[in-house]
Amino acid sequence: MTAKRSSEFDPDQPFRAAMRDAIALQWAAVWKAMPEVIAGEDPEAVHKMRVASRRLRAAMDVATDCFPRKWYRPLHKTAKAVTRALGDVRDRDVQLAELAGERERASDTERPGIDYLIAGIRRDRKKARKAMIRFLDRLDADGIPKRTKRRFPRPKGGAKKSRRATEVDS
């Protein structure tokens, strides 16, 4: 069965119900992306999860009036923390990719300076990645995925084609 997508939400439905579904979709996208981030060094996996977390935050930012603060606020804070943890790694991936190109174009005199810069960013990335993995492991250990699935159960979908890339799976 196809998961519901945000472009399929009925504009006339109550806001709370729509936001529950929207947030469920985005949490699902975050959890789906997580194993690849933990398992490998693929910068695209980090980027994908970070984008999912930004979309999640966009949804949770506007739904604060819809759900009891007691449990909503901690999950909202967690969503923000996910973006931050991934951002420290992602930002360095972006810089390393650009500097790889600079290095190729550089003269022999310039290359040692670029290598020095790259080495420093790689060291920082390694630290940032360790911190990110610790954070993500703690999410699992604290039962956050289960909690989000309980509070925001996955909506049942239809077969309608989507125009927007908030899809979770097919």
């Binding site: 945000s6 472009s7 399929e8 939400f9 009925d10 504009p11 006339d12 439905q13 109550p14 806001f15 709370r16 729509a18 936001m19 929207a22 930004r54 979309r55 966009a58 949804a59 930012d61 506007v62 739904a63 009036d65 819809c66 930002d91 972006v94 810089q95 650009e98 500097l99 600079e102 550089a106 003269s107 005199t109 310039e110 290359r111 040692p112 300076g113 670029i114 290598d115 020095y116 810069l117 420093g120 960013i121 125009r163 927007r164 890339a165 908030t166």
Partner: protein, 165 residues
Amino acid sequence: MSRSLPLPPLDPEASLAANARRVLAVRVDELFSYAPVIPDADASEALHDARIAAKRLRYTLELFSSVYGDEGERAIERLKELQEDLGQLHDHDVRIALIDEKLSRLGDLPEAEADVVRPGLEALVERERRARAMAHAAVVKRWRTLERQKVLARLTALATEPPPG
């Protein structure tokens, strides 16, 4: 760090469409409040904040795409372009700051090593500054395009409640 403008109280029992329009109005105001800083090449922090505001607006349009229809989809494509341009600018700012920091700390290295790495860092930061200037020009050009295409007016219309009946 950029803070979003506060949202008005939203009604959980009201329709998705009604609330989506209220959110859109705030996000549109937020992005276009940066119009005065866009031409200012030195306003790095404010330009970074504009990038975040563009992302928030784009994500809002995507989140409520069933409400905003085709006009919303067109706006998303334009915002992606603006976001890309602002992103390039930001990446240059980050690299320039990083390189400047490394240059300022070359005194911590043995002199021979510092002499080997300095030329590359100095050449790179000069290239980055030139590239940054071009990236900022691209942002200004993109913004002018948005103005010509009356994107603000179109988005404001999307955020307006439909007349009753």
